[in-house]
């Protein structure tokens, strides 16, 4: 019964600590070790009576393990903002880097860089953010990537967005420019596909660059209030 209580206590502590699996295994074993040792002096005492509340033990490990993870898995800055380290870098596959700037195989932050990355500005193989860049990029506002999906602006091999999509194949509600394009206003070099939601008369396609002037005129007519960023992006696309 005691052993089961010790295991439960040790597992509870370990579950609250961010560390790789090897470190967690060590911590679990050492907590069990210490409980057994302390129990020699205090028979039948609970783990909390022997070692203190699991929260206290967790906090103690967290405070001191940061120094340990510094040398073994990467870097965590001592400066923090809003409860997050300013910079968190890890090379570990088991730990998610979490910080204002987070870098690692898995990263979550205001600015995040990683294989799997989530952030306000996110760069990654698989990237999710307000502005997202990556192989597969999902952006709340904008996405740039091999496969780019965003609410407002998407640029990529395959790009899909509500307002503006630019890419090899571009699909949008409003404006799409690409090799293949599908939108209300399409600029294409190979194929234009009228969206199912629109009649032929309500969608406008222009083979570029041949009909660039007509495209520009229709763009100005349909979308006079594009905003500076999209106007700039369209300038680049031309």
């Amino acid at each position: 019964m005691m052993n089961r209580d010790y295991k439960r206590y040790a597992n509870k502590v370990v579950s609250q600590i961010q560390a790789n699996s090897r470190t967690k295994k060590r911590i679990r074993e050492d907590i069990m070790e210490m409980l057994e040792e302390r129990a020699l002096d205090s028979r039948d005492a609970s783990p909390e009576e022997l070692m203190g509340s699991y929260e206290e033990v967790v906090e103690d490990f967290k405070e001191n393990l940061n120094d340990y993870t510094l040398t073994s898995n990467g870097y965590v800055s001592s400066m923090s903002l809003w409860g997050l380290p300013l910079l968190y870098i890890t090379t570990s596959q088991q730990i998610t880097a979490k910080g204002i700037i987070a870098i690692g195989p898995r990263a979550v932050g205001i600015i995040s860089i990683g294989g799997l990355s989530v952030g306000v500005i996110s760069f990654g193989g698989l990237s999710l953010g307000v502005i997202s860049l990556g192989g597969l990029a999902l952006g709340l506002w904008a996405a740039i990537g091999g496969l780019a999906l965003a609410y407002d602006v998407a640029i990529g091999g395959f790009a899909m967005a509500s307002s503006l999509a630019l890419g090899g194949f571009a699909k949008a509600t409003d404006i799409a420019i690409g090799g293949g394009a599908s939108a209300k206003l399409m600029g294409y070099t190979q194929n234009a596909i009228t969206p199912n939601s629109l009649d032929e008369g309500n969608a406008f396609s222009y083979h570029l660059p041949v009909y660039m002037a007509d495209f520009k005129a229709k763009l100005q007519f349909l979308f006079p209030e594009l905003g500076p960023i999209k106007t700039w992006l369209l300038g680049l696309a031309k």
């Binding site: 470190t23 050492d30 057994e36 206290e56 001191n64």
Partner: protein, 114 residues
């Protein structure tokens, strides 16, 4: 002041742990008790403070752990730590560095004029 004490303690704990282990292998709880007893209570370590130090020292190759049967009702053999050759060398270097460091700091503190 307590924050300064914390930082100072953290800096010397590796030296103290190696020093205790130098002549005799110890187990975790024993190490905590020895540190407490030899420091008049200044170093009252908890597990969360002790074990990250042990992991660091073990990963550096300065100490190694092993299990040995112990008296009393235990479900597993007790885990002991002993110092390695690399640990002995590292300890000598750390102690030299410590003596040099404290000598310089003390000389600055004790100077009349700077």
């Amino acid at each position: 002041m307590s924050s300064l004490n914390q930082q100072l303690k953290k800096g010397v704990l590796e030296i103290l742990v190696l020093r205790i282990i130098k002549h005799q292998a110890v187990y975790g709880y024993e190490l905590i008790k020895k540190l407490d007893a030899n420091s008049d209570g200044l170093f009252k370590l908890k597990e969360g403070s002790l074990y990250p130090i042990m992991y660091r020292l073990e990963d550096k190759g300065f100490i190694e752990s092993y299990r040995q049967e112990a008296e009393g009702k235990r479900s597993v053999p007790r885990k002991y730590y002993k110092i390695t050759e690399e640990g002995l060398t590292a300890l000598d270097e750390m102690v030299d560095a410590w003596h040099g460091f404290t000598k310089v700091v003390s000389s600055i503190i004790d100077k009349e004029e700077l």
